[in-house]
């Protein structure tokens, strides 16, 4: 493992500090075809006590890496449920809570506010809009893009492609960041400037009948116009109670295909 030092505090906030960590298991260099250059640096904040969440520097993930949610940018989170994309998206839009309400358009009625609070969205800023019907969904997203801080929208499976394209244009015009999370399938090509797709997922803390879920390690494939046609592999650590941490500079894959 190559772990030189590890600090762990008990309780809700699981905090780790690792030096020169070499990925193992499914994210090892062998599995990734030697495209991984492990040069990991500790990214957790050892001063965080898990209590003062509001003042904690929760934006580490987005400021330090490629997953930057800029004003007017459309990000697509594409993948099956269970890979941590909802929490990733909530963490992204939570960065804009200071600019106004964070609106989450919930298609299934399953979105948990608790997860949004954990991801850094203040409770008083979070507004959840339940819209299932595709035309109504498109109207709602178009309206909220005009005046809120940021929008996280699950995309119904049968929404018309033209509606999504119009919303992407509206997001660019109104400078409101938009995160699209298709409930099923993919987004039409050319919509999102940044497309995030999960590659592998590793949960830690649970064994054969004992323990509890503590944190997960997620390998993401990031591509799109923002990445200039390159596809980058990014590893994200999520301990649930803290902000997500990105392991910077872990892996840069060669371009697989030109994209836009």
């Amino acid at each position: 493992m190559g772990t030189v030092g590890e600090l762990t505090t008990d309780g809700a906030c699981h905090m780790t500090m690792r030096v020169d960590r070499v990925p193992t298991g499914v994210v090892s260099p062998t599995v990734l075809g030697n495209r991984v250059t492990p040069r990991s640096v500790p990214v957790s904040d050892p001063t965080f006590n898990g209590q003062d969440r509001d003042n904690h520097d929760r934006g580490k993930l987005h400021r330090s890496g490629s997953l930057v949610l800029m004003p007017g940018r459309v990000v697509g989170l594409v993948g099956p449920p269970g890979f941590g994309l909802t929490r990733l998206g909530l963490s992204m839009v939570g960065e804009y809570a200071a600019a106004g309400p964070v609106v989450c358009v919930d298609v299934r009625g399953w979105l948990s506010p608790t997860a949004a609070w954990e991801a850094g969205v203040p409770a008083d800023k979070l507004v959840i809009v339940r819209a299932k019907e595709p035309v109504q969904w498109a109207k709602v997203v178009a309206v909220v893009l005009e005046g809120v801080g940021s929008v996280y929208a699950e995309v119904p499976s049968d929404v018309h492609e033209a509606h999504i394209r119009r919303l992407a244009a509206l997001s660019r015009r109104s400078k409101t960041p938009l995160v699209l999370r298709p409930v099923r399938g993919r987004l039409p090509a050319g919509i999102a400037q940044l497309t995030v797709t999960p590659e592998t997922l590793q949960w830690e803390g649970v064994e054969q009948g004992y323990g509890r879920l503590t944190h997960r390690r997620l390998m993401l494939s990031v591509s799109g116009k923002v990445m200039r046609g390159m596809t980058t592999m990014i590893e994200v650590e999520d301990d649930g109670a803290n902000a997500l941490h990105m392991v910077p500079g872990l892996a840069v894959a060669a371009a697989r295909h030109a994209n836009g």
Partner: protein, 482 residues
């Protein structure tokens, strides 16, 4: 309050430093001069009008004897502005044996120092008391309100204080505060926002509940002066510095004071204390103004009564915030009133598209399961009280991280078990292997509410992790760790 020497038979207007008319007498009103008009406009309408520029410091000095007179009967007088004070009289009522006795005693003291025309209103809340005082006449200088809500019921809706809001209410057919109070608060709040909510509270005879009068000592800002300050300009600079220091205190982040105590110590050892209250949250400028007015009042007041101002000069000045509230929170860096209004507009429009009950906010509360820990309410409504105490220990609660997706009702999940161990989970049409799991964690329901016991599991598969409950051999999914 009337400024001495003001003519009583000529039109007179009082203007603020922005040259807006803030008060007119009956003669000026007859000529068509109204409050809010620009000074030039009023002078064009009534060329013989006499104009008085407001000097709050001077007015505070003139008002100081009135405050002293009231304080000789009831302590803890709170000045809202020169000419208006709020006096909590609960203790005095017990001491003097009744509300009427207190009011008559105050009225008698005022008659000795104030010019004719003082008005006293007594009610449960400041809003109703002020309205009661406005309704008094020279013949009956005080009015005691038994029931605030009943008293306010027949009052015109313009009493809410905002002409625009009152005009909108009238357009909607709401003519009195009673009509407004009859509307559901949630409806008013969702349509008119915070302003409407405040108006609705006032219509019900409710005021913003002030915090208990415990003075947080660590928030007090104090300055000792050596040599003592002897002129008003020096004191004004000190007031601004203290206001800045108080508002920059890290403990004041997110809150603003609605009430402050100004305390000054003279070189001769005499300690003077006065409380100032504001209906709106005090900021640095308004706080510094009030400190300056008070010091000017002490200074000029002493001179007027034959003294030489504050004897020996000012050696110590301290400011203590008393009533702190988050209501007057300063806007964030990226936040402005316009964007807030825009956000409210789009959310109201969203409500119109999907319905009120589909634009939701949530607040945390206590509970063991993810679905229990959230209390939902419609956007624009007041946040309801949680049923369960969030600070209670809640043993057996599902630990963090919480599932990102929580179905409102448990969702049936097909799980293959092998001697009590989950082996495979069916997701759609395919089976996925269970990689690891934790549990069972027994949850015993409240049998008296017919809650059935269940076993809870965290199941990790190659396609994600789930929170499950097993009841009577049937597995239900209660959360997805997405």
């Amino acid at each position: 309050m009337r400024r001495p020497g003001t003519p009583t038979d000529k039109p007179v207007q009082a203007v603020d430093i922005g040259n807006r008319v803030i008060a007119v007498n009956d003669e000026a009103a007859t000529e068509g001069v109204t409050i809010g008009m620009r000074r030039r406009e009023a002078e064009a309408m009534c060329p013989v009008i006499e104009t008085i520029v407001v000097d709050q410091g001077h007015d505070a000095a003139r008002f100081e004897p009135v405050v002293k007179a009231i304080e000789s009967v009831v302590p803890r007088v709170e000045i809202v502005r020169p000419g208006l004070v709020l006096v909590p009289i609960t203790g005095a009522v017990r001491y003097f044996g009744g509300e009427e006795a207190v009011v008559e005693r105050v009225n008698k003291e005022l008659a000795a120092v104030a010019l004719p025309g003082q008005r006293l209103g007594l009610a449960a809340g400041p809003f109703a008391a002020q309205r009661a005082a406005e309704m008094t006449t020279a013949q009956s200088p005080y009015l005691i309100v038994d029931d605030d809500a009943v008293f306010l019921r027949t009052m015109d809706v313009s009493a809410v204080g905002s002409e625009d809001l009152a005009a909108t209410f009238r357009w909607l057919g709401i003519g009195t505060l009673g009509d407004l109070a009859a509307l559901p608060r949630a409806v008013v709040a969702s349509r008119f926002g915070d302003v409407g909510l405040q108006a609705h509270r006032h219509a019900h005879g409710e005021d913003r509940a002030p915090q208990a009068r415990d003075i947080p000592a660590d928030l007090t800002v104090e300055e000792r002066c050596s040599p003592p300050l002897i002129n008003l300009e020096q004191v004004a600079f000190l007031a601004r510095a203290l206001a800045n220091r108080l508002m920059s205190n890290p403990a004041m982040v997110g809150v603003t004071p609605f009430c402050v105590i100004v305390e000054a110590e003279a070189a001769d050892g005499m300690l003077r204390t006065r409380t100032w209250r504001s209906r709106d949250p005090l900021d640095e400028v308004t706080l510094a103004d009030r400190i300056r007015w008070q010091l000017q009042a002490w200074l000029e007041g002493e001179r007027r009564s034959g003294g030489d101002g504050i004897d020996g000069g000012l050696v110590r000045l301290s400011i203590t915030p008393v009533d702190l509230s988050g209501d007057g929170r300063q806007l964030a860096l990226h936040e402005d009133a316009q964007s807030t209004a825009e956000a409210q507009r789009v959310l109201m429009q969203t409500q119109a598209i999907v319905g009120d009950d589909r634009v939701l906010q949530a607040a945390p509360q206590g509970g063991r399961d993810p679905v229990e820990r959230v209390i939902w309410y419609r956007w624009g409504d007041e946040q309801p009280e949680g049923e369960r105490d969030i600070n209670a220990p809640w043993p057996g609660a599902i630990p963090s991280p919480t599932p990102s997706l929580v179905p409102p009702d448990p969702y049936p999940l097909e799980v293959e078990w092998d001697v009590g161990r989950p082996v495979r989970v069916r997701l759609g049409t395919r089976w996925v292997e269970v990689v690891s799991w934790a549990g069972p964690w027994r949850k015993t329901g409240r049998w008296w509410l017919h809650e059935e016991p269940c076993d809870r599991y965290q199941i990790v598969t190659s396609a994600g992790a789930f929170l499950c409950e097993v009841r009577d051999g049937v597995t239900w999914m209660t959360g997805v760790y997405d």
